[in-house]
């Protein structure tokens, strides 16, 4: 996970786009909360596109 994050930063991918968490099958509320948090976080970042490297990408 930390190796992947290290590589992602080299590739210009924000840290917030990757999250690892554990939820038990009995923790429905926690599951919903994590998914909502992640969704909100991604919405703020907007779609990922490698396409802003200049004119002729």
């Amino acid at each position: 996970m930390s190796l992947l994050k290290k590589m992602m930063s080299q590739l210009g991918i924000e840290d917030e786009r990757l999250r690892l968490d554990w939820v038990s099958a009995s923790e429905a509320e926690r599951f919903a909360q994590i998914v909502n948090e992640m969704t909100e976080q991604l919405r703020k970042l907007g779609p990922f596109s490698p396409g802003n490297g200049g004119g002729n990408v």
Partner: protein, 319 residues
């Protein structure tokens, strides 16, 4: 039987593929018996307009090495595709982007700034950087456009076969040329090599349990010559790399760097290599894991050494 017409071209590459083609040794005489070379900039004085004048599909086979990073290379790739019945991506750069593909961590602007303005050895007071057009008293000079992103040949034109390697081993080159000469080509799309399994399958080193507490760079240790290099903490790409080369690097005490590309069925070689490496780290303590991976100094350059343009991401995001 009429002779085959063969074309060879180099795009963004180092010239090593041309040397690799000559490494087939005296078999080159067999090639000369079976084929006429109609275009080969490194050795034959044929001009682009000569190729342009050839009828479509009049070249039987084109061996194309090098990645596509300029408008000239893209133009030649498209022209040779039109003129050739069979297009072969020869070597790692044409197949996966290769070493030039690591430029996809940057873009034209940052590359030009570094190369023409910033390096310690640069003396460029007028801050001259390449322009595609420049007026001189004699007229207008033009040079090809340099793209932000390095592409593989298959991302530019249809490719029929791939010969992997940086450079391809002579036996791999001959495997393909022999099939061509005998007219026994494998199904379209085949990556031509002796072994579709991983390099580990070719490697004679002893493998036991992979549990790594510390990674080393090649200059930091002299590895045991008989034990798996990855087990000794060297980042050997053999686990995630197509075989057929015969594992010459591990047998010379150097880790595989991944030049034969991904094993069959794998799309993203770097992700495959990374997950293999992550799974052998022998720790569950986050701070210890951070310490272990601190020794992996350049993850992209290590895991995607030859394959960044061919990866799922293709390039880094740059500002």
């Amino acid at each position: 039987m009429s002779k085959l017409k063969l074309a060879l071209y180099w795009a963004a590459s180092c010239g090593g593929c041309e040397i690799a083609q000559l490494l087939i040794g005296d078999k080159i005489l067999k090639l000369a018996e079976a084929a006429d070379i109609v275009f080969w900039p490194v050795a034959i004085d044929a001009k682009y307009k000569d190729v342009e004048a050839m009828p479509d599909k009049s070249i039987d086979v084109c061996l194309f090495n090098g990645a596509i990073r300029t408008s000239e290379q893209e133009h030649l790739a498209k022209m040779l595709r039109e003129k050739s019945r069979v297009m072969i991506a020869y070597g790692a750069c044409a197949s996966e982007g290769g070493i030039p593909g690591l430029a996809n961590l940057f873009n034209r602007q940052t590359i030009f700034d570094r190369v023409y303005l910033e390096t310690q050895s640069t003396d460029n007071k007028e801050k001259v950087v390449p322009q595609t057009k420049y007026k001189v008293p004699e007229g207008e000079l033009t040079i090809p456009e340099f793209y932000d992103t390095v592409r593989t040949l298959a991302q530019t034109v249809d490719v029929d076969y791939t010969i992997p390697g940086c450079p391809p081993e002579a036996k791999t080159t001959w495997l393909a040329l022999e099939a061509l000469i005998e007219g026994k080509l494998p199904p379209r799309g085949t990556v031509i090599t002796h072994n579709a399994k991983a390099v580990c399958d070719d490697c004679p080193r002893k493998r036991d349990v992979k549990k790594i507490k510390k990674f080393y760079r090649t200059f930091e240790i002299i590895p045991d010559p008989e034990i798996c290099l990855l087990e000794q903490g060297l980042l050997c790409a053999g686990i995630a790399t197509r075989g057929g080369c015969g594992a010459p690097c591990p047998q010379a005490n150097m880790p595989c760097t991944g030049c034969y590309g991904p094993v069959d069925g794998v799309v993203d070689q770097g992700a495959h290599f990374l997950s293999g490496v992550a799974s052998v780290i022998d720790s569950n303590d986050p701070s210890e894991i951070d310490k272990i991976i601190a020794d992996i100094h350049d993850p992209v350059g290590t895991f995607y050494r030859y394959s960044l343009p061919d990866s799922l991401l293709r390039r880094a995001r740059t500002k």
